[in-house]
Symmetry: C2
Subunit: 210 residues, 2 copies
């Protein structure tokens, strides 16, 4: 019997490209895809659920995980640590389930270093400068300066697009979701992800397969 190894689907984009809405809809449509749950040392906020939003752990524990190479990627953001536990991801992949990652180019580089074979990376681009600016101007009272700062940050993030395998221009959320679903469905058919193929083929060749 042929089964498949799961894959790690990474979506990255500058903020304002629509990634969050796309991720949510993808998870609704795809049963065999679930979001990676990160560990973090930042305090839990009201409404957040341990093990659903994050695994909240203390800094000593985080350091131990990092030292034991139990994190596929990790980063420090505003004084708090965030990381992706290797164990849960490995378990999902071995069971033929796919894992979705909403991470930036730095996280993606670390994942690629640790699990290149299982990685499928997609960079989502806004359809135009005008649209990007419109999405970054989140409140009417945003000053030109604040918007310009966000544009500069987006420009920096966008410069990393050549590190990704697939590019999706998000001019329509529903269409972008379908594009990423096609990527997911196609990547599942990659020869190297299939388990049991040599035995299956031997059965076909010698007539012993049922």
């Amino acid at each position: 019997m042929i089964t498949r190894r799961g894959l790690m689907l990474v979506l990255s984009s500058p903020s304002g490209a629509g990634k969050t809405s796309i991720s949510r809809k993808l998870l609704e449509r795809e049963d065999e895809l679930s979001m990676s749950v990160s560990v973090t040392t930042r305090p839990r906020r009201p409404g957040e659920v341990q093990g659903r939003d994050y695994l909240f752990i203390d800094p000593t524990e985080f350091q131990l995980m990092a030292n034991r190479n139990e994190l596929l990627e990790h980063a420090k953001v505003f004084g708090n640590y965030y990381g992706t536990p290797r164990g849960a991801v490995e378990e999902a992949l071995a069971a033929g389930k796919d894992v979705l990652f909403d991470i930036d180019w730095q996280g993606t580089q670390q994942l690629a270093a640790n699990a290149r074979q299982d990685l499928v990376s997609v960079f989502i681009l806004p359809p135009s400068t005008r649209e990007l600016e419109r999405r970054l101007r989140t409140r009417a009272q945003d000053s030109e300066e604040v918007v310009a700062q966000r544009m500069a940050k987006a420009a920096d993030e966008i410069s990393h697009y050549p590190e990704y395998q697939y590019i999706v221009l998000n001019d329509d959320i529903a269409a972008s979701v379908e594009k990423i679903r096609a990527i997911l469905h196609a990547e599942r058919l990659k020869r190297e992800r299939l388990v049991g193929l040599p035995d299956f083929v031997r059965g076909l060749q010698d007539g012993s397969g049922d």
Copy 2:
């Protein structure tokens, strides 16, 4: 503006795996996909149309094309020559159209040597030995020996599956067509196939994109 370079979609399989029905339905569903028309030196049969089924040419012309490196792949079968003209394929790819090839592993190896970047290769496998045998037993009066010969030939063809990027197990024609459509749609989003991406990204970054 971002456009895309077309791709060469190769489907190979042992006979009896359902490739012909799959190709026909794919072409019906996909506007931007057309079948590669081969040149051949074999005589035209009744009902065949010049330029649709084949480009029928004489052996001298074929030899000239081969010498000028105008064929992406060619082979001799039962004393006749068959080949894929480079010009028509190159034109389609440059115009962002995809080309479908129904060729065997030898043709695929030659295409890979001549156009690896543009190649997307899919190997279609029958779902079981029983099903393969059923499909190879095309007429009730086929002797066991004839069927055994066809099975041996199929076993040889199947041994080349590791040379392909994607594997589709054809247990249902409609499902297989959808799988290959997903491969086609995903491969169109590969970063290297997109034309104009650096300029587009520069426009986003410096705010000059519309």
